[in-house]
């Protein structure tokens, strides 16, 4: 199994989620993060002083998948999260040694609700 982690723009979350559902991904975990990168943060004005906020709000999506879905899932995120402008984010893939569904104790690929044959 693999864990796909994607940092995306917040307003892209809905399209990423929809695209993943369309290819049979049945679960994911999402959190609010702050990104630092090429995309400069915005300027804030507070009582005459201007500040640059280094960190930009982003969304992190984590998806646990079976090994063979890696390419499909990565490409799907790539397409659905891209706006072509700086700050679109990153995807990275890490190996997962085991997965468990807490409710049932199922392990490995069975712990993931991916649809078959996709």
């Amino acid at each position: 199994m693999k864990l796909i982690s994607a940092i995306v723009k917040p307003h892209k979350l809905d399209s990423v989620k929809d695209a993943l559902q369309a290819i049979g991904v049945r679960g994911m975990t999402v959190s609010q993060v702050q990104g630092f990168g090429r995309q400069r943060g915005h300027t804030e004005v507070y009582r005459g002083a201007e500040y640059t906020i280094d960190f930009v709000p982003k969304i992190k999506v984590e998806i646990l998948i079976a090994d063979d879905s890696e390419t499909l899932v990565v490409n799907t995120i790539l397409e659905s999260a891209s706006s072509g402008s700086i700050g679109d984010g990153k995807i990275w893939v890490t190996p997962v040694e085991d997965a468990v569904r807490i409710r049932t104790g199922e392990r490995g690929n069975d712990a993931i609700d991916q649809e078959q044959g996709r």
Partner: protein
């Protein structure tokens, strides 16, 4: 826009402003209670407060005011239905013919009292009451608990009023009543899951401070408006309210500092409320320095009283008993010592002002009667409702929180629709 009647305009201006101030206290209470709640139960308690405004006002207008202030049916127990619908600017309220303002103005001012008393008791059952059950409870409670006690004390024909009880702005009717009603409710409902093991701390103290600020502001209407006129008694009541609040704030902080070595913001606002609770029955009857003393005592004692629940094991979630019940007792009883006709010719002299023990006795009587009646009848209503339509939410719903389970809402949504570059 012509004049219908010729009441004193200054008195009318003050009583109307006061009525608006007292109404404002209930949304203020919603913020105070909501801020002190956990984030999953914020709207639950706010909604209960808002519902009280809606339901109790209508009940009051249709027949509650009449039962409380209408012609006594005998024995000073309850009024009749002669004032149902609240009448007009020309209506005569039995025993209150000398009102400086329109009886309708008096009636709407009193309406706001019924509203906030009802809302206060929600705090005793916070985090675990079904909304539908609460709605029924509050309607029944208004009729069976609030209205009778208001009649006994506030109507000149009530049986306690006949004994000579003094209650300037509701030490019995509002404070002791709400405190002991909340206790009854808390006992019947039982403890929240996890209480007192789990820390159930305020989700937003700033919101609670906002609420307390509104309560403080509104209390000037509550107390000084109870003079019924913009006169010297109102001025005394106003000043005393401020001083008792301040002394209560200091008193509570002293206890906190001594026992935990920290003075907290929640302590400051709780102490101010405790001081105002205690001065409520006294505001227009006592002098300036006794007000500071009573406020200080209220702060000291209530800061200690809120810990009783851990000892006795009743889960009075938002400390209605500890603050309003105990504070109300303090003020109502101490008035028997400090009342002075030098401040208010319409009042009486307490023990320390040459009035002997009579007033003190009556005050103790009224305090006890109110406490017992409120506790017993509220507990009975709650028990009955719990056995029939159900008053406590399921463990699952309690877990999820009232906002989601009872109202299909979240207090805060910062979800997926928050778009940023």
């Amino acid at each position: 826009m012509t004049l219908l009647t010729h009441f004193n305009t200054g008195d009318t201006a003050w009583v109307l402003a006061s009525a608006a101030l007292v109404l404002f206290m209930t949304p203020g209470l919603a913020l105070f209670y909501g801020g002190l709640s956990r984030s999953k139960n914020v709207l639950g308690i706010m909604m209960q407060c808002m519902f009280c405004i809606g339901a109790v006002s209508i009940i009051w207008a249709v027949f509650g005011f009449s039962l409380a202030f209408g012609k006594d049916v005998g024995g000073g127990i309850i009024g009749n239905l002669g004032l149902a619908g609240m009448g007009s600017n020309h209506t005569l309220i039995p025993g209150l013919s000398h009102l400086a303002v329109s009886p309708l103005a008096f009636g709407v001012f009193q309406m706001m009292f019924a509203v906030i008393t009802a809302a206060l008791i929600a705090g005793g059952g916070a985090d675990r009451m079904k909304f539908a059950g609460f709605c029924v409870l509050i309607v029944v409670w208004t009729v069976l608990v609030y209205v009778p006690i208001a009649h006994w004390v506030f109507s000149p024909n009530g049986w306690l009023a006949h004994q000579g009880v003094l209650d300037f702005a509701g030490g019995t009717v509002v404070e002791i009543n709400s405190g002991f009603s909340a206790l009854g409710l808390a006992i019947v409902l039982g403890k929240r899951h996890g209480w007192p093991r789990e820390a159930m701390v305020p989700h937003s103290v700033p919101i609670a401070v906002a609420g307390a600020g509104i309560l403080w502001f509104g209390w000037f209407g509550f107390n000084a408006g109870s003079a019924g006129a913009a006169n010297g008694v109102a001025v005394h009541a106003f000043l005393n309210t401020q001083l008792a609040a301040c002394a209560g704030l200091i008193g509570w902080l002293i206890i906190e500092k001594v026992t935990t070595s920290y003075a907290t913001t929640v302590g400051a606002i709780s102490g101010a409320v405790a001081g105002m609770v205690a001065i409520t029955p006294c505001a227009g009857f006592i002098g300036t320095m006794p007000s500071i003393l009573i406020g200080l005592l209220a702060g000291l004692i209530c800061a200690s009283a809120v810990k009783l629940k851990f000892k006795f094991g009743y889960d009075d979630s938002l400390d209605v008993l500890g603050v309003h019940g105990v504070g109300g007792l303090i003020g109502t009883i101490l008035l028997g010592l400090f009342a002075s006709v030098a401040v208010n010719h319409g009042g009486a002299n307490g023990l320390f002002y040459g009035g002997g023990l009579h007033l003190l006795g009556v005050q103790v009587l009224a305090a006890l009667v109110t406490a017992v009646y409120a506790l017993v009848v509220t507990a009975a209503i709650a028990k009955l409702l719990d056995k029939t339509i159900g008053l406590r939410v399921s463990p699952d719903d309690e877990n999820i929180g009232l906002d989601s389970s009872q109202h299909a809402e979240n207090a805060y949504s910062i979800g997926s629709s928050q778009g940023h570059r």
